[in-house]
């Protein structure tokens, strides 16, 4: 499927991204790029289950676990993030299994699944706030500055190193996305998202397939949280966990395009650039305006452009491509109510 031309385009694009920080060194712009890459990775992780109709509002919780476990182990026990990050990912994965297994076993879908996962991000936020003696509560938390080996502490002062790390992590996310896209699991999950009973009758292990993608998505989101924490060196419950972060993931993925690999990345570029432009243009008066624009856009997109900007653009470029899958068609119908 992936032709020579596309492969070449990917290679050239990547090479350009790797070379970029050595040519162009403006720290502010690099900072924005790092943020875009980290959040793109988080949004891509969310979209891996979101594209199969598993809309989770619990990913804020997984991200919070990744960030806080890593930071807490470093500050309180002196464990390097190289150990802390895997532990955080395992913790998020375990939580995903504990909540996911009964959900899928008892066929909790649709509204109910969204609201159960909403409870999950609510719990994580409340636990972080309630254990304020350790986590600093809603005032936020700062990992201690490393005195010795920077690599061991995963703390770097220059933006170029962070840019390359974020680029690597982001690329990893895209590769995993394509790996899932080409696997058998994708067909199984698409069948499940269209009709669970029919998929089960056709021999798909519904619970196991859903659990696998949920686990993968949760673990990757935790990694995004940990990287974000190491880069920013300051986290608060509201920036890495909770319902607002979960909704932000959903929003960016939908605006960019849920069904194409670069869709969530595109969503991150748009949302972060929008927020930064408003911030620079209006200063402190801009507080709230970015979310106002997000909200209006989210509503408009769901009503008029449910496949997202990139998804719709790609469709327009290649109209003869292939018949859209049924659940995408369903979404497309919204654009013309009454048909």
């Amino acid at each position: 499927m992936m032709g020579q031309g596309r492969l070449a385009a990917w290679a050239i694009g990547l090479a350009a991204l790797v070379v970029l920080p050595f040519v162009y060194r403006d720290p502010y712009h690099l900072h924005i790029l790092v943020l875009i890459l980290i959040w793109s990775f988080a949004y891509t992780s969310w979209s891996m289950m979101g594209r199969f109709g598993l809309v989770s509002l619990g990913h804020g919780g997984f991200m919070g676990i990744g960030a806080y476990v890593t930071a807490l182990l470093w500050n309180h026990l002196g464990w390097s993030p190289w150990i802390g990050i895997p532990i955080g990912m395992v913790a998020a994965g375990a939580l995903a299994l504990i909540v996911g297994y009964p959900c899928f076993r008892f066929r909790i879908t649709g509204h109910y699944f969204v609201l159960v996962t909403l409870a999950l991000s609510g719990i994580v936020l409340q636990v972080i706030t309630a254990t304020r003696d350790y986590t600093g509560g809603s005032l936020g938390y700062t990992p201690n500055r490393a005195s010795g080996n920077k690599l061991w502490a995963l703390q770097f002062d220059d933006k170029i190193t962070w840019y390359l790390i974020a680029l690597g992590v982001w690329l990893f996310g895209i590769v995993v996305w394509h790996w899932v896209d080409r696997s058998m699991a994708r067909y199984a999950l698409e069948a499940i998202s269209e009709d669970e009973d029919a998929a089960a009758a056709a021999g798909v292990d519904v619970t196991a397939e859903k659990l696998k993608i949920t686990l993968l998505s949760a673990v990757m989101t935790a990694l995004a949280g940990a990287i974000y924490c190491q880069y920013q060196m300051f986290i608060t419950p509201d920036t890495v966990s909770g319902i607002a972060v979960s909704l932000q993931m959903v929003f960016a993925a939908i605006v960019g395009g849920l069904f194409v690999s670069l869709g969530p990345t595109f969503g991150a570029v748009i949302t972060i650039l929008l927020a930064e432009t408003l911030r620079i243009g209006f200063g402190t008066r801009a507080v709230g305006w970015d979310n106002l624009v997000y909200g209006v856009l989210l509503v408009l997109f769901i009503i008029f452009l449910p496949k997202g900007i990139l998804g719709s653009l790609l469709d327009r470029l290649k109209p003869q491509r292939k018949v859209p899958r049924t659940h995408e068609q369903e979404a497309v119908q919204i654009a013309r109510p009454g048909t």
Partner: protein
């Protein structure tokens, strides 16, 4: 030893009664959300944000324009009812045939809009009404008068809704639609009109809740997040669209929060309530009162 037990019991009783009082307001919130879910089959993620707008309306009417609380309250209820109808007309109606997830996410967008609108328009300061109601001392127990008033008003509100639903033609039509969406249109009921009325009614309930909550809590743009999630959990626990289930679940949750708060911080009360919810989802996935399939 006996003395310690006595004191403990009084605190326990106080917490239990405060839980019941809290449950009244939560039940009112759950009722509005359940009504909309039961009839239109949509979850308004932004429901608590409507309440937040209502609280701001109360604040400005009472503080800035000096209108009496009892005149401001009906105005606020009317305003939020109009907001509810507008939400349905502008956002939900175009999405009625879309997958349910899209409707839910669209109201999530409205949540962002309302929250940031409040931030932009009113700033992030905490504001309160400035009405301090006396504390009712009953033996050694203390109850806030505001909570008692809210509880009673919530009960009255629920009885009014019940009478509306059972005694009027429109109410009967609403209940009929919640039973069978397709057939009622063939029976000559204008479903669009009923949906709009239901949304306005749901909005009015949010407005009433706002008038009551503003007595107890400060208003700020993110106040919705502090009771929004709990309202959804109550509705799901009771069974989405199940009015009686929602009512019972509200009191169960309120007791957990109140008693959990007695033994530890208030946040742990919430954590307990959330954890209880997740456990209950697995025991009774379709709600407290649902029959096992």
């Amino acid at each position: 030893m006996q003395a310690i037990l006595d004191i403990f019991d009084i605190y326990l009783l106080e917490a239990v009664i405060n839980g019941i009082l809290l449950g009244g307001v939560l039940a009112l919130l759950a009722l509005g959300l359940n009504l909309i879910f039961g009839v239109i089959d949509v979850t308004w993620i932004c429901y608590a944000e409507l309440v937040m707008i209502g609280m701001y309306a109360m604040y400005f009417l009472v503080q800035s324009y000096g209108i009496s609380y009892f005149i401001a309250a009906p105005l606020t209820i009317l305003l939020v009812a109009i907001l509810g109808a507008a939400l349905h007309y502008l956002v939900i109606a175009p999405l009625l045939t879309a997958p349910p997830i899209n409707q839910l996410l669209a109201t999530g967008g409205v949540l962002f809009v309302l929250q940031s609108f409040a931030t932009v328009a009113f700033g992030i300061d905490f504001r309160n009404l400035g009405i301090r109601l006396p504390v009712l001392a009953f033996g050694e127990m203390h109850f806030s008068y505001a909570r008692l008033l809210s509880f009673l008003a919530a009960l009255v509100g629920m009885v009014v809704v019940y009478l509306f639903m059972t005694r009027t033609f429109t109410g009967t039509a609403i209940r009929a639609i919640s039973q069978d969406r397709q057939i009622m249109a063939l029976m000559g009921v204008d479903t669009k009109r009923i949906y709009l009325i239901t949304s306005a009614l749901g909005g009015a309930l949010a407005g009433l809740a706002a008038c009551l909550l503003v007595l107890q809590y400060d208003v700020h743009p993110f106040v919705g997040l502090s009771f929004g999630p709990i309202t959804f959990l109550i509705c799901v626990l009771g069974g989405l669209g199940n009015f009686i289930g929602g009512f019972i679940a509200a009191f169960v949750f309120a007791e957990i929060i109140s008693l959990g708060g007695l033994f530890s911080d208030l946040e742990w009360g919430y954590v307990l309530a959330f954890a209880f919810f997740i456990v209950m989802m697995f025991i009774r996935p379709a709600g407290l009162l649902a029959r096992r399939r």
